[in-house]
């Protein structure tokens, strides 16, 4: 809502409309999510694009996203809203500033992995973190897809990947 507020205040009409469009897509997708279990990656990525647009306004020039997904993977099915907690985690736990912009990458690899990764830019005092978001995601993945997700935080990069 801050994003919307600022766009209106600074009088950016077109971007306000785009933002509103993104916001309604995000709401619609989340509200419908309890009727679905597995969705094609394509659908999930459309949602993520809307969500990252909103975040892009909130952290303009500081937060960047790259989505590089092989076209043949677009029909693979994954639990609905599985990418969202990973993006939320990256935004919550890392420094995002002009000096230290954050780049979140979503991509597929030739080893049939779907990956979300970002450089680790720890805050001075980390908020209490119980890892419940990742645990939930792991549980849902195991139950719905029958596979594990891998979490790796070596070499200063945080990576979550899953086999598809």
């Amino acid at each position: 809502m801050n994003g919307l507020n600022s766009l209106i205040r600074i009088g950016e009409r077109e971007r306000t409309l785009e933002y509103l469009d993104g916001l309604s897509n995000v709401f619609r997708y989340i509200l419908q999510s309890n009727h679905k279990t597995l969705v094609p990656l394509d659908e999930e990525l459309q949602f993520i694009k809307a969500y990252t647009y909103l975040l892009g306004v909130r952290y303009e020039n500081k937060l960047f996203f790259s989505i590089q997904v092989d076209e043949i993977c677009l029909q693979m099915r994954l639990p609905i809203l599985s990418l969202l907690p990973l993006i939320e985690n990256a935004v919550k736990h890392n420094i995002i500033s002009m000096q230290h912009p954050l780049r979140i990458e979503i991509y597929t690899t030739s080893e049939n992995l779907l990956v979300v990764s970002n450089h680790i830019q720890p805050k001075m005092e980390e908020r209490v973190c119980n890892g419940i978001g990742l645990k939930n995601l792991q549980g849902r993945y195991e139950m719905l897809v029958g596979r594990n997700i891998q979490i790796d935080d070596s070499n200063g990069v945080f990576t979550v990947s899953c086999l598809y």
């Binding site: 909130r58 952290y59 001075m124």
Partner: protein
């Protein structure tokens, strides 16, 4: 009046700046925009205190209260945050108001009026020397 803004979100910053410009209480010149604890501590170490500070609580590198542990801040602070859970901590430092984001014109003007009220008490109270 010279003010600084400590805020890490671009959208919130431009929104606050727009409201500051609109307010009809006082003309505000924003002399610095800072986005992290580190930036702010550095700024306070080598600058004169402003008249007023607008401060978000969740900054890029942690909670804003860390700034008060590292430098002396005598200027009054108006906190601007999306969370209402830090009011008590905000009360312990030199805050004059706690505005929930997005900041509205009326809440901002209320804070500014409060600032002038406190100031006039300090300089023109019945027991003051002048």
């Amino acid at each position: 009046m010279k003010a600084i803004i400590i805020e890490d979100e671009t959208a919130a910053l431009s929104s606050l700046k727009a409201v500051l410009q609109q307010n009809s209480v006082v003309e505000i010149e924003v002399i610095a925009e800072l986005e992290s604890i580190e930036d702010s501590v550095e700024w306070f170490q080598c600058s004169l205190q402003p008249d007023l500070i607008f401060m978000d609580i969740h900054l890029a590198d942690g909670l804003a209260f860390k700034i008060f542990e590292q430098v002396d801040i005598v200027a009054p602070v108006v906190f601007t945050t999306a969370y209402d859970e830090y009011a008590l901590e905000a009360f312990r430092v030199s805050s004059i108001d706690y505005l929930l984001k997005p900041v509205t014109l009326s809440s901002l003007e209320h804070a500014l009026n409060k600032f002038f009220l406190f100031q006039s008490c300090r300089t023109g109270g019945a027991y003051s020397e002048n």
